[in-house]
Subunit: 261 residues, 2 copies
Amino acid sequence: MIIPRLFLFISFFSLVLCNEKFNSHVLPRPLILETTQLRELDNEVQLQCTSWRFGVEANNLNPWKTIPLECAEYVKDYMLGRAYRLDLERVSNEAGIYAKSLELSGDGKDIWVFDVDDTLLSHLPYYADHGYGLEIFDPAEFNRWVDKALAPAIEPSLKLYKEVMGLGFKVFLLTGRSESQRSMTEENLINAGFQNWEKLILRGSEDHEKLATVFKSDKRSEMVKEGYRILGNSGDQWSDLLGSFMSNRSFKLPNPMYFIV
Amino acid sequence: MIIPRLFLFISFFSLVLCNEKFNSHVLPRPLILETTQLRELDNEVQLQCTSWRFGVEANNLNPWKTIPLECAEYVKDYMLGRAYRLDLERVSNEAGIYAKSLELSGDGKDIWVFDVDDTLLSHLPYYADHGYGLEIFDPAEFNRWVDKALAPAIEPSLKLYKEVMGLGFKVFLLTGRSESQRSMTEENLINAGFQNWEKLILRGSEDHEKLATVFKSDKRSEMVKEGYRILGNSGDQWSDLLGSFMSNRSFKLPNPMYFIV
């Protein structure tokens, strides 16, 4: 907490100095911030960053490249604390309730689409080493992490995965990862506890230039043309969920660390 | 704060008693909750209700009838405090940035669609008298309030409204209100500072049975057939924004008080 606190302190103090420009004191002001001032500052950061996070999750901020500098500590606390886990559990539970409410046709054409990265597999270990979204995304570095196939399961998503499979849904995995990453993706998924998916769809050579929304819409369009009914869709990015051939119901997992167009 | 605190106190105490069932004490426990315990309880409610609100704003909770009882005070504090205003300002600013980034054709066919209730006009005065979403929605009572035409403007939305109009967008107002409420709706909008909209579209007799998403999609379909390009859409409900003929970009205003299917 020391460095961010110091940063906030300096920011706050710069603001104070800035306001003093037109109302200058002759005597230098003592470099003291009282506990109550620090607490107010914390509350203000909390308020602003929660507002920013809601902007992200409601898809009002679009696109964005890195988290705001002043929210670095907030995002870290959120990701490592109970709030992120609670949000993951809630979205998994809600999706489960919805899934159970449906009457499936029994013809094997009712499907649930899952995104992979930060929907089924967690990249929190990677982002913990990269400022929780504070650093500009480095695809080469990220791919080295992906190739290790060490990403752990997002447990509430694994629970939902097993639940919908138990209900009779076919599961389609639709990921922005490249076809060249198929084997390590399969390995990682299996090691994390995911099994028996119907299809794992990755970006082929013809898909690499497409925006995620377009790529995923194209693939959903193919599913529909093959007679599948997309009844549920889970993803941590709005680009997993919006576009054409959208699912009846979509479930947005929280992710305040990065944004994919 | 006294009644909700008492409620929390009782809930907490029931939980304690419940846990004690299998580990019973012979002596009665004193009815004392320490300040730190109350603070932890507050933190827990804060955490749970923020998670609930995230679920609402990301459209993961769908449908819901009333706010959770334990979030009554949380929602009230949110609506009356700075957080709601900050969220409104953020969504208005983001929409403004997006609007300015577009190059309009100049043929008068570029439009911005606004919902009315709790997007342009605020029903906070009504909901303040009805538990901020804790009470089951009473359409007759609500319509009596609407008929008074006293709803104030949501100021950040009025700012955006003027901004997009200044940029050359035509503004379409698309509301779930009934055609029979046209005159009071116009009166209320004008008194609140909204002017010069291109069209105000309300539910006609043929629309009354439609879900909001269907009604609004049908109306957007008509706009597109008339050659309009829907470049922006602002609404406090996901049913304002999702469906068919969706806008290029949608802006979800916060509303943790009620949900419209």
